[in-house]
C-alpha cells in the first residue's frame, strides 16, 4: 500500500466515485484514454469515457448531466496548453459545473517538459490539478494523479 493513502482508496473496496474521462476537441489519440479508464476502474471507481476529439459543448453537457466526482482531461497531441484552456473556461462558466473537481494531464506541450511553466496558466484558469507527463514518465504522473484523487476524495463531500 502507498503510504499516506486512505486504505479504502488503495484497495478498490472504498466508496465508488464517478469519473468523466475525456480528450480535447483536436486530439484523436485513444490509448491514453483506454489505459486511464482501466487505471481509475482499478482504483474502484466508475468511468464514463467520452473518447477522442470531444467537442467542448458535449463535455459540458455530460458533466452537467452526470455531476461526476471528478473530471479527467487527458491529451497527448501537444495542444493541451491551448485546448485545455478552452475546456476549463467553458466548464467554469457553467453554474452546474463551476464547482466540479477538474484535472488535466498528458503530453501537454509540443516541446516536452520545457513547457511545464505553462501548468500555472492552466491552474489559473481553474483546473484543480495539472499532471504534465514527460517522455517515459507515464507511471510517475499516474502515481501523482492517484495520490491526488485519494487525498481529495478522503475529504467529506
Amino acid at each position: 500500500m502507498t503510504p499516506g493513502l486512505a486504505p479504502e482508496l488503495t484497495t478498490g473496496t472504498g466508496p465508488r466515485r464517478r469519473f468523466v474521462l475525456s480528450s480535447v476537441p483536436s486530439d484523436a489519440h485513444m490509448w491514453n484514454l483506454v489505459v486511464l479508464q482501466l487505471f481509475i476502474e482499478e482504483m474502484g471507481h466508475e468511468v464514463i469515457n467520452l473518447g477522442v476529439c470531444v467537442p467542448v459543448d458535449l463535455l459540458v453537457d455530460r458533466c452537467r448531466a452526470e455531476q461526476p466526482d471528478c473530471v479527467v482531461i487527458s491529451t497527448v497531441n501537444g495542444h493541451g496548453y491551448i485546448d485545455g484552456v478552452g475546456v476549463i473556461d467553458a466548464l467554469r462558466a457553467d453554474p452546474a459545473c463551476a464547482d466540479l473537481l477538474v484535472v488535466i494531464g498528458g503530453a501537454l506541450g509540443v516541446v516536452g517538459d520545457r513547457n511545464t511553466g505553462l501548468a500555472g496558466d492552466l491552474l489559473d484558469h481553474g483546473y484543480d490539478a495539472v499532471f504534465p507527463v514527460a517522455a517515459g514518465q507515464t507511471g510517475e504522473a499516474m502515481g501523482r494523479f492517484r495520490e491526488f484523487v485519494a487525498e481529495r476524495m478522503r475529504l467529506p463531500v
Partner: protein, 417 residues
C-alpha cells in the same frame, strides 16, 4: 499558368516495380508550406531508391476545420501536414509541377472520415492516388457515426471512380489503432474496405497491413491477406502495402532503424509490393526531410539484401481461417458492402479491441502472448472459431501499458554482442 499534372497510373507503376524485383518505399511526409512540401517531394525523388512520393495532410484538414488551417497558414504557423484544401488546387498543382513524373507517382494521405473536399481538390490538382476507408478513418480517429462516414466515403469513392484518369485507392484497414489489433481482424477490415471501393467503381486498389509484434505471425498474416485478395478482388488491379510498425516506436535511433529494417525484410520475404516507412524521429517529433530520405534508404538497403520469397508462410496458426470467416459473415449480413459494414459493427461481428468509438462494440480484448505473437484475449461477439481462447477476467492497466510498450522495449535494448 500550369494545369494539373497528368499522373502515370499508380497501380501500373507498382506492378512494374514489383516485376523488376524492387520493393517500392514511401514516406509519411507532409509540411504546411508549399515550398517545403515541394522540396520534400523532390528530395524523395532524388533519394536514389525506388520510391513513391507522399503528401500527408494536416490534422485540421483531416477533421474538416479548413478555417483553422487557413488561419494557421496566414500566420505562418507550422502544421503537421499539407493543408491541401486551404492551398487549393491551383497552388497544389504548381507545387507539383515538375515533381510528378512517369517514374515518380505521388499519393495523398489524409486521415479523414469525410474526405469529399479533399478528393475534389486533389483531383483538380492532378493527383489520382489516395487512401483511407469508411471504417479505418472513422473508428480510430473521429466520433462521427459510422453510417455518416460510410455515406461520405461512398460519394468520395465515386468521385475517384468516375474521374477520367485511373485513380488508386488504398485501404488503411490494416492499421486499426496502430497496435494490438490481431492480424485476422486487420486483414478482414482491409479486404472489406477494398471490396467497398470496388463496389463503388474503383478498378485499382491496395490492401494494407501494419507490422505487428512477431515476424512469423506477420508473414503468415501477409500471406493470408494476399490469399483473400486473390479470392475476392479478381478482375481489378490490386497489390499489398506494408506499414512499418505503427505503435509506440523505439526511442533510440538504433532501435528505430532495426525495427524499420525488420519491416523491409518482412515485405520482401512475403512478396509485398510497397512499404511505408517510419523514421528515427518517430518517437519524438515530426521527421525532417532528411530523416525521411534516410529512412527510405535504410529500408531499400535492407530489402535489397533479403532474398525474395513467396507468400507461403511456414506455419498456419489460423489467421486465414479467422479472417475468411469474418469477411464471409460480414458480406452475408447485407446485400451491399456499404450496408454490411455499419451493420457488422452494430452486431459485433467486427469489433476493434479497445476502440472507444460509440459504434464499436468494444467487448474484444487482445494481448501480446508469451511468445510475442498478438493473441485474442476476448473475442466478444465476433464469429471466430471456438478454438480461439476467451478469458473472462479483465486486463490490468499495467499489462496493457506493458503490451503497448513491447516493441519499444524490445528494439531499444542493446543487441547482445
Amino acid at each position: 499558368m500550369t494545369g494539373p499534372v497528368r499522373h502515370p497510373p499508380f497501380g501500373r507503376f507498382v506492378a512494374a516495380g514489383h516485376q523488376a524485383g524492387r520493393l517500392l518505399v514511401q514516406p509519411r511526409m507532409g509540411f504546411a508550406g508549399v515550398r517545403v512540401m515541394r522540396d520534400g517531394l523532390l528530395a524523395v525523388r532524388a533519394s536514389g531508391v525506388p520510391a513513391i512520393g507522399t503528401v500527408t495532410l494536416d490534422s485540421y484538414t483531416r477533421v474538416g476545420q479548413f478555417d483553422e488551417a487557413a488561419r494557421a497558414v496566414a500566420r505562418g504557423l507550422d502544421l503537421n501536414g499539407f493543408p491541401i484544401v486551404t492551398h487549393g488546387a491551383d497552388r497544389t498543382a504548381r507545387m507539383l509541377h515538375g515533381v510528378v513524373a512517369d517514374d515518380f507517382p505521388v499519393q495523398v494521405r489524409h486521415g479523414s472520415a469525410q474526405p469529399e473536399r479533399i478528393f475534389r481538390t486533389m483531383l483538380a490538382a492532378g493527383l489520382t492516388a489516395t487512401e483511407g476507408g469508411p471504417v479505418s478513418y472513422c473508428l480510430p480517429y473521429s466520433r462521427i457515426p459510422l453510417r455518416t462516414a460510410t455515406a461520405s466515403w461512398t460519394r468520395a469513392t465515386r468521385l475517384l471512380a468516375e474521374h477520367p484518369d485511373e485513380c488508386h485507392l488504398e485501404s488503411f484497414g490494416g492499421c486499426m489503432l496502430g497496435q494490438l489489433c490481431p492480424p485476422s481482424l486487420l486483414i478482414a477490415i482491409s479486404v472489406l474496405e477494398c471490396l467497398f471501393f470496388v463496389e463503388h467503381g474503383m478498378r485499382s486498389v491496395s490492401a494494407s497491413y501494419a507490422q505487428q509484434t512477431h515476424p512469423q505471425q506477420d508473414a503468415e498474416a501477409l500471406g493470408a491477406l494476399r490469399r483473400l485478395c486473390a479470392e475476392h478482388l479478381s478482375g481489378v488491379d490490386w497489390h499489398v502495402v506494408l506499414y512499418t510498425y505503427m505503435g509506440l516506436f523505439p526511442r533510440t535511433p538504433e532501435g528505430a532503424k532495426r525495427l524499420l529494417r525488420e519491416s523491409a525484410r518482412l515485405a520482401v520475404r512475403t512478396g509485398t509490393e510497397r512499404m511505408i516507412v517510419k523514421t528515427v524521429a518517430e518517437a519524438h517529433r515530426i521527421p525532417t526531410i532528411e530523416e525521411n530520405v534516410q529512412a527510405l534508404r535504410i529500408a531499400h538497403e535492407a530489402a535489397a539484401s533479403e532474398p525474395a520469397g513467396t507468400s507461403e508462410s511456414e506455419m498456419d496458426t489460423g489467421i486465414h481461417e479467422q479472417a475468411s470467416a469474418l469477411v464471409g459473415e460480414v458480406l452475408g449480413c447485407a446485400p451491399t458492402v456499404a450496408r454490411a459494414l455499419p451493420l457488422a459493427f452494430e452486431k459485433g461481428l467486427l469489433d476493434v479491441p479497445y476502440c472507444l468509438h460509440p459504434d464499436n462494440d468494444n467487448r474484444t480484448r487482445s494481448v501480446v502472448g508469451p511468445d510475442g505473437r498478438l493473441e485474442w484475449w476476448n473475442t466478444g461477439r465476433m464469429p471466430l472459431p471456438a478454438a480461439v481462447r476467451v478469458h473472462r477476467e479483465p486486463l490490468s492497466h499495467r499489462r496493457l501499458l506493458d503490451d503497448l510498450d513491447y516493441q519499444r522495449r524490445r528494439f531499444d535494448q542493446p543487441v547482445p554482442a
